[in-house]
């Protein structure tokens, strides 16, 4: 298993040597065939499921930046998702803005909200920060639930689908191209950020705040930056969700349970591991969807899974694989050295 993964990654690395974007392009082109494949084998409903997977990938990747890289425990992410969705929906419905304008504006608004959610992180840490962000996230949902202009209990209906010229993107498989493109770009940029000085600053803050600050990292600034970047992801996912066929959103989409599901994705996949978060998002979304008949037990089972994960596999699937690879490298290096000396 591990050797398969190392072979796979080295194959990708050799592709990336030709051009660093080549593996991404290949993945993108292959994914273009996915909706046809899914429709042929499973049916159209599952394309919709794939769309939702892409949205949750965006959310999980964004959450991973603030929680996984930067180590800030936030439970308000779903509130940002809600803000992105409602803003874009209302802008499109009330002011007739096209998706291509309402979505960027929604992202802008979400960024600002992300800054607000992030402000407590300057002073609070760990569980206290979780509580503060939980309050902010949940208050967004309640605000939506009680304000008629924001949809209240009926939700927002008939949100116009995105258009390109005269063409309206309203079928599931065509919408897939949109969300998949967004997800791929999102994943790509999270790698860019992780490998830059900003990503290293995030990780340093996660590991040791004091050591980071005496290394010249402006800790409050980078914490807020992490929140804002994750808000871009959440806002984009929210806007895409709002305009996704059938163009309907309800505050029930933004409950704490959804937030827990989102956390489960990141924890299952591996905190601070980008591909782990992606895999976690797909696995959890599919399982969640396939066990809908037992919706009554879902929160219970997800909660228990989370507890077991945190106790027995705190670094998730991605973490376990990563550690195995590191161990292998370490052993190889020692063997090399031993060969060198003997």
């Amino acid at each position: 298993m591990i050797s398969f993964i190392t072979n796979f990654t080295s194959a990708i690395e050799s592709l990336a040597k030709v051009h660093r974007l080549l593996p991404w392009l290949i993945a993108y082109v292959l994914l273009l065939f996915l909706p046809n494949l899914i429709t042929a084998t499973f049916g159209e409903y599952y394309v919709d499921l794939a769309n939702r997977c892409c949205l949750f990938i965006l959310l999980a990747v964004g959450l991973n930046i603030v929680k996984g890289f930067c180590g800030q425990v936030t439970v308000g992410h779903i509130g940002l998702y809600a803000i992105g969705a409602v803003t874009s929906a209302l802008l499109a419905q009330n002011y007739g803005l096209p998706f291509w304008l309402s979505a960027p504006l929604a992202i802008l608004v979400t960024c600002f909200a992300g800054l607000v959610v992030g402000l407590p992180s300057v002073r609070l840490e760990g569980a206290y920060l979780a509580l503060a962000t939980l309050g902010l996230g949940e208050s967004v949902r309640i605000m939506i639930a009680v304000t008629p202009a924001l949809g209240s209990s009926t939700g927002i209906m008939m949100i116009p689908a995105p258009t390109i010229g005269d063409y309206v993107i309203e079928s599931f498989d065509h919408y897939f191209y949109l969300v998949m493109t967004a997800a791929i770009i999102g994943i790509y940029f999270s790698f860019v950020i992780l490998n830059s000085s900003t990503g290293r600053a995030f990780k340093a803050i996660r590991e040791d705040v004091i050591a980071a600050s005496v290394s010249g990292i402006n800790v409050p600034f980078y914490k807020l930056l992490a929140f804002v970047i994750s808000a871009i992801y959440a806002g984009l996912a929210g806007a895409l969700f709002a305009h996704m066929p059938p163009g309907y959103l309800h505050h029930n989409n933004f409950t704490v349970i959804e937030m827990v599901t989102l956390l489960l994705m990141v924890v299952l996949g591996g905190i601070g591991n980008i591909w782990g978060g992606v895999v976690g998002a797909i696995v959890v979304t599919v399982i969640y969807d396939q066990t809908k008949d037992y919706y009554f037990y879902q929160p219970l089972i997800f909660g228990i899974t989370m507890v077991f994960l945190v106790v027995f596999m705190p670094r998730g699937i991605g973490g376990v694989i990563e550690q195995a690879i590191v161990k292998r490298k370490f052993i190889e290096k020692h063997e090399e050295q031993n060969l060198g000396t003997s």
């Binding site: 940029f189 490998n195 000085s197 990780k203 340093a204 590991e207 010249g216 402006n218 370490f330």
Partner: protein, 267 residues
């Protein structure tokens, strides 16, 4: 002109005066020792100078011509002050190379927006930085472990890495908080050699806190002694060795018999 100068530096925690009224001057290009019994305020002094703690009002700290009294830690670091910690505080889940690259953070040549977009300039600058940092790791003998998480290193290697991370900042002043703690005497000598060679290579000024007096006496040009938060002596090693106040602080005072008798009787 002194590279680092404190005037009336004080810090109290509640009623406890951890550091009170310390005047200290560190001359550029020297190795300056800071010694004192446990709890005498050496680490607090470091934390005050590097901005980890804010000093009490009335304190004054000047570094390289800048008033840094009320600056935050990252601002002071950007001016060229680096430090190590007694408990190292490595970024243990990041690789050895990443650890030193974080040390080099202030010298990043590209802006934040660029780093988020991953422009070609960012990639080139990072590649150049990586080479530079690998060179540094080579010098301290950790190049073989560049892509291994810092947490997997042995104790001695971790101490070296902590030093490397501080050096990566290309500082003017390097503050070392007990660099030899937990090392065997042979390794301490080796470490001091490394420190001195780094000092020559990167033209550093060094302030070192150390409990192993033999090491301090042999490497430092000037030594300051703290006791109960106050500076009780300062000077070259020979002078410190024979200073009454210093001997008293370390070994206690020799009392005349009569005083001991009175103390026992409770008078």
């Amino acid at each position: 002109m002194a590279l680092l100068e404190t005037r009336g530096l004080s810090k109290s925690f509640g009623g406890l005066k951890a550091v009170s009224g310390v005047d200290l001057k560190v001359q550029p290009g020297t190795v300056h020792g800071l010694i004192g019994p446990n709890g005498s305020g050496k680490s607090t002094f470091f934390n005050l100078v590097t901005g980890v703690y804010q000093p009490d009002p009335g304190s004054h700290i000047e570094f390289d011509g800048h008033d840094i009294t009320n600056l935050q830690a990252h601002g002071i670091a950007a001016l060229g002050m680096a430090r190590t910690f007694q408990l190292l505080r490595l970024f243990s889940e990041m690789t050895v190379l990443e650890n030193v690259m974080v040390g080099n953070h202030c010298k990043t040549s590209y802006g934040i927006v660029e780093s988020l977009l991953g422009t070609s300039r960012v990639r080139q600058a990072d590649q150049k930085m990586k080479e530079e940092m690998l060179d540094l790791l080579e010098f301290i003998g950790l190049a073989n472990f560049a892509d291994i998480p810092a947490g997997e290193l042995s104790g001695g290697q971790r101490r070296l890495l902590a030093l490397g991370r501080a050096i990566a900042m290309k500082p003017k002043l390097l503050l070392l908080d007990e660099p030899g703690a937990g090392l065997s005497p042979v390794n301490v000598d080796k470490l001091m050699e490394t420190i001195l060679s780094l000092k020559e290579r990167y033209k550093l000024t060094v302030v070192v806190v150390e409990h192993i007096l033999k090491v301090v006496m042999s490497t430092c040009e000037t030594i300051s002694v703290l006791d109960h938060g106050q500076k009780i002596a300062e000077g070259p090693p020979e002078m410190i060795k024979n200073d009454h106040a210093v001997i008293e602080a370390y070994l206690g005072r020799e009392l005349p018999d009569e005083e001991i008798r009175n103390a026992i009787r409770g008078q």
